[in-house]
Symmetry: C2
Subunit: 200 residues, 2 copies
Amino acid sequence: MVPVRTETGTRDAGKGADTRATILARAVDLASVEGLEGLTIGRLAGELEMSKSGLFAHFGSKQELQLATIEAAAKRFRAVIAPAFEAAEGAPRLRAMSEAYLAHLEQGEYPGGCFWAATAAEYDDKPGPVRDAIAAALDAWLGELERQAGVAGAADPASFAFELYAVVTAANSRYRLSGDPSAFAYARAGMDRLLGELEA
Amino acid sequence: MVPVRTETGTRDAGKGADTRATILARAVDLASVEGLEGLTIGRLAGELEMSKSGLFAHFGSKQELQLATIEAAAKRFRAVIAPAFEAAEGAPRLRAMSEAYLAHLEQGEYPGGCFWAATAAEYDDKPGPVRDAIAAALDAWLGELERQAGVAGAADPASFAFELYAVVTAANSRYRLSGDPSAFAYARAGMDRLLGELEA
DNA sequence: GCTAAGTACGAACGTTCGTGCTTTTCTGTT
DNA sequence: AACAGAAAAGCACGAACGTTCGTACTTAGC
């Protein structure tokens, strides 16, 4: 296996860090499809053409692998959303964030759709560090939506954030299950309706 | 184990049908928490204090158990929604259906929250009969929402159904992950806003 | 040039998975 | 009371699970 030299890889010294980053990139993809439970060490090692034990040594336990995968997924998600932070705060940024999320789903860049939708539903009833990490990531996202909704002058920022969140996540779940791309059109219509009231 | 004599049990002759219904009731609960993959024959048998092989004989394969569980969940869901069909068609029925769904989540009658939310996210990227059965059940629900939206005079019934679906399912996912019951308040606010436009 | 640490490997562990085959227990009908 | 068929249990299987161990090979520090 030829480890790809990534940004994170070069920062943390050594070739092991590169391997780790390669593993985690694949782990995020695999978990988006199979879930964090279906993210199996043996299968992951097989896809990467390395030994179970060699891969395992990077993390020490399955739970550590899961937590590292969640962290890697958060980093990837921030990269997807990042361009939206060039938009002005408030309604423009809310629109940019939502559009960035929808566009990256529509483009189909990553298999399995939204990592968070897949794993949140899987772990929402399984207490522990894994669930906590997922919940924290989603709370951070909703918190940012709420903050921007406040800036935009929403009457009830938390309620507004919930509705925007509802519309974009429903686009993911409906599209993944039905394959019908009109889910994105519906989501954009809902987004327009929500933000239209704010921009008026 | 004393099999509970159920409606479905008495219709299909024999004690085996009763046992089957008992198994499936527990299977729906277990799958709502652990998913249809985590719905393990050994664990299910253990919880019901019966042997793996005895339970297995009722279904013949794990996939048949999964499909039967989906069917049982659909039946349960119809029972939850049933009262809403006494409301007049159109906006009143949409409101009654949504409220019935939210109320049964809020009440916490069933562990693991919404069976469909848990299993749809799990199987949306795994083609096969199980995915098809889940998709069909959800399409039926959305189809009914769309039909009622049409009766209610929505400009775009499919888009309206999507938004209503988005709001109520987001209530489930947010409540399960955060435990914050205000998710239901936000969902009802969204529901009111959507239906308010229609009723005006 | 020697050593220590880092990295990956193959083999094996105990457990649980889904699934067969055989035997025992229960149940309903003469 | 006896019997036939259904229902459940017992037992065993091969595979995959997470994990541990001992061991090579590569790199970095003295």
